[in-house]
Symmetry: C2
Subunit: 222 residues, 2 copies
C-alpha cells in the first residue's frame, strides 16, 4: 500500500482506482492465457472480492465498455488497462540511493516488463560515487540535475536514508522530474508539479499477520 501527496488526487481517475488496476490486469491476463474470451464484472468482482459496482466504475476509467449481461472482451480489456496505465510506453527513472533496497530495485523484473528503464543511479557517499553497479556509474546526488538532463529521466526512485531524503528532493526540485517513488518514510517538501508516491509494504504484511493465529488453531485441532 502506498500514499500520495494531496495535490494529485482525483485527476481523471482516483489513486485507489489506479492501484486496483494491476490486479484487474493480472486477472485478465490469466483469463486470456486460459483461453477465456469474455469476462463479466460480476466474475471479476467475485475473484477480487470487490462489489460489482466498484469493478464497473474502476474499469470505466479505462474507456472500455462492457456488453450488458455479457461482459468485457478479455483482450480488449487487457489492452485498455495496459494502455491506460501507460505500461505499453517507455519510462526512464534514476535510482537515488544505491544501498540494499536501491540495488534490489535495479534488478526488479516486473518494472522492466511494464516499460521502466533505469537510466542512472546516484548516491551521496563519496566512496561510492564513480564506482559501477549493474553496468551504471554511480553519480553524485548533487549532480542529479545534469544527469536528468542528459538521460531524459522523468522519475526518481528514492531509496536513500531518511536523513538524506529532503536534500534529494531539493536538488531535483527544478529539474524535469515529474514523479518521485518514495521508499523512505519521509514526507517530502517538493514543488506541486512533482508527484510523490510513498511506498509501504505494510499491506502485504497485514494479510500474513492476520492469518498467523488461524494456523495455530487449525494445527491444534488436527
Amino acid at each position: 500500500m502506498s500514499k500520495i501527496n494531496d495535490n494529485f488526487k482525483q485527476k481523471v481517475a482516483s489513486i485507489p482506482t489506479i492501484k486496483r488496476l494491476p490486479s484487474y490486469l493480472n486477472l485478465v491476463k490469466r483469463a486470456s492465457q486460459e483461453g477465456v474470451e469474455i469476462i463479466s464484472a460480476t466474475n471479476i468482482a467475485k475473484e477480487l472480492d470487490l462489489e460489482p459496482i466498484q469493478v464497473r466504475k474502476d474499469l470505466a476509467v479505462t474507456g472500455i465498455i462492457g456488453k450488458p449481461r455479457i461482459g468485457y472482451n478479455v483482450n480488449e480489456l487487457f489492452q485498455a488497462i495496459q494502455s491506460f496505465l501507460n505500461w505499453d510506453k517507455k519510462h526512464k527513472a534514476i535510482i537515488v540511493g544505491t544501498g540494499n533496497l536501491g540495488s534490489a530495485l535495479m534488478k526488479y523484473g516486473e518494472l522492466k516488463n511494464h516499460g521502466l528503464t533505469i537510466v542512472g543511479i546516484a548516491d551521496a557517499s563519496p566512496e561510492k560515487i564513480g564506482t559501477e553497479k549493474n553496468n551504471l556509474t554511480i553519480s553524485d546526488v548533487n549532480d542529479l540535475p545534469a544527469l536528468i538532463k542528459k538521460t531524459g529521466a522523468t522519475m526518481i526512485i528514492l531509496t536513500v536514508p531518511p536523513s538524506e531524503a529532503q536534500n534529494v528532493a531539493e536538488v531535483i526540485n527544478d529539474t524535469d522530474i515529474k514523479a518521485i517513488w518514495n521508499f523512505t518514510n519521509v514526507k517530502l517538501k517538493v514543488s506541486d508539479r512533482i508527484l510523490v508516491l510513498m511506498e509501504d509494504l505494510s499491506s502485504g504484511y497485514a494479510v500474513l499477520s492476520f492469518h498467523l493465529p488461524f494456523y495455530k488453531e487449525n494445527e491444534d485441532t488436527e
Copy 2:
C-alpha cells in the same frame, strides 16, 4: 499489490478487505493525531475513494459497530483494526536470502512497528553461511528446520533468486512455519497448511506511470 494462494480465500475476512485495512488504519491514525473523535464511513470512503458500502462492509469484519448517522469512534476503530490484524501482537520471522532485498527488509522499520521481529537469516551460498549480518549469523538454508525449531519463527520472508525458491519451500514444508511472504515471482508448491503471499510492487508503479504523461501536458501549456 500481492497475490495469495487459493486455499486461503474467504476465511473470516477476504484478502482484498484485509489489504485495505492498513490504509484505513493510516487514515484513522492521522485523524486521531489531529484530535478527531468521530469519523463517518462516508468520510472514510471519500478520503480513500471507495464506495461507502464497501467501507462499512470492510470495517464490519473487525467487529466494530458505527453509530447510525454519526460514525465510528476514532480510537475504538484504531484499536479494532490493530487488533484484527494482530499488529498488537509479536510475530517472529526468518529472512531467507540475504541479498539486497533481504538485507533491505531486515532494516524495514514499518514491519517492526507492527510487531514483526526478525529472529534469523539464512542463505544458500557457502561463502555467506556462518558470516554475520545485522547482528545475526547467516544459517544454511538446509538447516532451516532446526533454526525454526530453535527460534519459534512462524513466518519466512523469501528473497532468494527464483531458481532457489522451490527448494526453500520444500525444506520448510514440514516445519512449524505458517506463512511465506514470497518476494520471488515463483509460484511455490507447498503444503496447504502454509499461507503464501506473493508480493509485487507494480501497483505503486501503476500510479506513477499513469500520471507521467499528464505532467508533460501541464508543462507544455505553462
